[in-house]
Amino acid sequence: MAKKIDVPFNGTKEQEERLKRELAALRKEHGGKGLMIASLQKAQEIYGYLPAPVQQMIADELGVSLAEVYGVATFYAQFSLYPKGQYKIGVCLGTACYVKGSGDVYKKICDTLKIEGGQCTDDLKFSLDATRCIGCCGLAPVMTVNDDVYGKVTPDEIEGILAKYN
């Protein structure tokens, strides 16, 4: 379970308007069918995560219950109900990386940042997720920090890598 962080929802009017605009565009593009996942993806793009008020907005826009939105939002790994860190760390725990020791890398990051997978540090700086195969198995074990990719990572290098973002 992700650690709940007490961040009050501070969405802006502009964000809400943008969401409504994007949803209207989606509806047109999809011919009104199968909108939910794409809507949640758009909302997460705008807000960074999917807190209850945002789920409610989508429920209202699509004319479905909040429970249905929540059901879909919690089903897929891509969606997060909690905010992510400024730097999102991903460690590939796909098989190729795992047999090459990415489990140790992951553990080292947990120990260093004192968080678990799915969690965010208290200062909202780093969050950590175990990712599925990101497909550069030649570089195994692989970790990513936002868009930066680090290949052939060893646990010793973790502190140095994290220091770059501090």
């Binding site: 199968g34 939910m36 794409a38 550069c136 030649g138 195994a140 990719v149």
Partner: protein, 596 residues
């Protein structure tokens, strides 16, 4: 006319190694030298040899440069492009012949035994230019189908070729299409499964990144065969490059009139849209994928009704995997007999494997069905690095099993893999050496399926969790021999009582390792020992007295004060205090600490 072509790999593997910066630097230098009209730099899809990325090839010489860095660009331009002298130090060693000249890539061990059908354009054409695809016979198959063949002709050719689904189960593609064609209804759908979720498999992504038009063309052919006018490609949102290239490819195909209304003036209409998956392994299952496209939780539905009768939005639908589609245009152009001449009796054609794990040449290989595991791992893959002994190969991802070393000469096809307790799956092939613990591997896959079980069936939702807990007991050293039998029983229970492929195959990694590596399980249970030295709770760290110099470094770094001893005297570890964190072993400069 260009006098030289530089092909830079733009696949995910090489891009992660900064190949796009190399590309930019090349383009930049060539412009500065005023050579834009003489030297052409292109981004291509994956060459397959990901272990050596970033990769580039310079033609006409065919110089295959590997592990190219931005700093190397000046040398390549100055020496190779301007002076015509090949930069030998960057050449892939296998391509340097005995006389010092360049050997053709197809003569190297990695490529020699490969036969590229699905990957034929990957690493050859620029995937962002439809003209390059067309120049390589692209959309010719669609033209042939629409102008010369009836829908039934198309299905007959595909059936006769013996093509089977490349996504896992190996269902005959032609038969699937026939069912959908026979289903009544004026609205039908064609879907493509690009939700590649097997950890360690990345061939579908490479095809989408390297040759997206092949998939689009094949979907149009399938649509014509079954009478559909709309298609969806369901692709993982985690594959940004693939999504971007697909988007470009669809737009270009529309501009050329190869998607849309009245294609080739034949009266046939077909259009295609992308749907982004949101990260759920179960969505690789066909009914779950369709539920997900409809916007719901991706839970599988019972079959029958099969999707060919009642699929997406309740209409007849076919769903094929990316690699399956990538074969289709070639089959139409070259004929069913050509395709059927490759492979084994029941598994025709070629299969792409993603080689990964403890192997020299990680990357993508495409080989005729029936090639043995030994040829793939040793001849193509170059064996295990660091002189380690090959222990097992895992195929089929979380649904498959581990193939032990003594079965390495098994010819790989759908039926042989099932017979030895694994399955083809999407084609991930992970090599393990003596340092991998098979119980730990089984636990790894179970952790994955526990996480990814959609929760609909009790046997899968709770069963995989209980199975995982039992495996934890084994790796913790608290399991009994009776637990091993219980585990086996539970495995069969889960297989028999789950609705979809996920649950039905989830116990395979446990069953196959229990079958082939039972001694390893027993060592954990009976002797409280992990033979590979992986399971932390069963490890005992020891100091070899002869090697210990008494430098005290380990004692000072031990977080729990478990190491004692006087300066310049051998130290000892108190096993009752040791938390097995491994810091001492990491810190020791003399290699005096070992795992026993």
């Amino acid at each position: 006319m260009f006098r030289s072509h530089i092909l830079v790999c733009g696949g995910t593997g090489c891009t992660s190694g900064n190949s796009m910066k190399v590309y930019d630097a090349l383009v930049d230098r060539i412009r500065k030298e005023g050579l834009e009209n003489e030297v052409h730099v292109t981004k291509t899809g994956c060459f397959g040899l990901c272990a050596l990325g970033p990769i580039m090839i310079v033609y006409p010489e065919g110089a295959f440069y590997s592990q190219v860095k931005v700093e190397d660009v000046d040398e390549i331009i100055n020496e190779h492009i301007i002076k015509g002298r090949i930069v030998t130090r960057l050449l892939y060693k296998e391509t340097v012949g005995e006389d010092g000249g360049i050997k053709a890539l197809n003569d190297t061990n990695f490529y020699k035994k490969q036969h590229r059908v699905a990957l034929r354009n990957c690493g050859v054409i620029n995937p962002e230019k439809i003209e390059e695809y067309i120049a390589y016979d692209g959309y010719e198959a669609l033209g042939k189908v629409l102008t010369e063949m009836t829908p039934q002709d198309v299905i007959d050719v595909i059936s006769k070729s013996g093509l089977r689904g490349r996504g896992g189960a190996g269902f005959p593609t032609g038969r699937k299409w026939q069912f959908a064609k026979n289903s009544p209804g004026n609205k039908k759908y064609v879907c493509c499964n690009a939700d590649e979720g097997d950890p360690g498999a990345f061939m579908d992504r490479s095809i989408l990144e390297g040759d997206p038009h092949a998939v689009i063309e094949a979907m149009a052919i399938a649509a014509y065969a079954i009478g559909a006018d709309q298609g969806y490609i369901y692709v993982r949102a985690e594959y940004p490059i693939a999504v971007q290239r697909l988007t470009i490819a669809i737009r270009q195909a529309r501009e050329y009139g190869l998607l849309g209304k009245n294609i080739f003036n034949s009266g046939f209409n077909f259009d295609l849209d992308i749907r982004l998956g949101a990260g759920a392994f179960v969505c690789g299952e066909e009914t779950a994928l369709m539920t997900s496209i409809e916007g719901h939780r991706g839970e599988p539905r019972p079959r029958p009704p099969f999707p060919a009768v009642k699929g997406l939005f309740g209409k007849p639908t076919i769903l094929n995997n990316v690699e399956t589609y990538a074969n289709v245009p070639q089959i139409i152009l070259k004929g069913a007999d050509w395709f059927a001449s490759m492979g084994t009796e029941k598994s025709r054609g070629t299969k792409v494997f993603a080689l990964g794990g403890k192997i020299h040449n990680t990357g993508l290989v495409e080989i005729p069905m029936g090639t043995t595991m030994r040829e793939i791992i040793y001849d193509i893959g170059g064996g295990c690095p660091n002189g380690k002994k090959f222990k097992a190969a895992q195929t089929g991802g979380p649904s498959g099993g581990c193939i032990p070393a003594h079965l390495i000469d098994t010819p790989i096809d759908y039926d042989n893999l099932i017979a030895i307790g694994s399955m083809m799956g999407s084609g991930g092939l992970i090599v393990m050496d003596e340092d991998n613990c098979m119980v730990d591997i089984a636990k790894f896959f179970l952790e994955f399926t526990v996480d990814e079980s959609c929760g609909k069936c009790t046997a899968c939702r709770i069963g995989t969790k209980r199975l995982y807990e039992m495996l934890c007991k084994v790796t913790d050293g608290t399991a009994t021999m009776e637990d091993l039998d219980k585990m086996e029983e539970l495995c069969h229970y889960i297989k028999e009582n789950s609705l979809c492929g996920l649950g039905q195959t989830a116990p395979n990694p446990v069953l196959s390792t229990l079958h082939y590596f039972r001694d390893e399980y027993e060592a954990h249970v009976r002797d409280k020992r992990c033979p590979a030295g992986v399971c932390k709770k069963l490890l005992r760290y020891q100091i070899v007295a002869d090697k210990c110099k008494g430098c005290t470094l380990c004692a000072r770094n031990c977080p729990v004060g478990a190491i004692s001893g006087t300066v310049k005297e051998p130290h000892v570890i108190d096993a009752s205090k040791c938390i097995k964190c491994g810091v001492c072993m990491e810190k020791c400069k003399f290699g005096a600490i070992i795992k026993a």
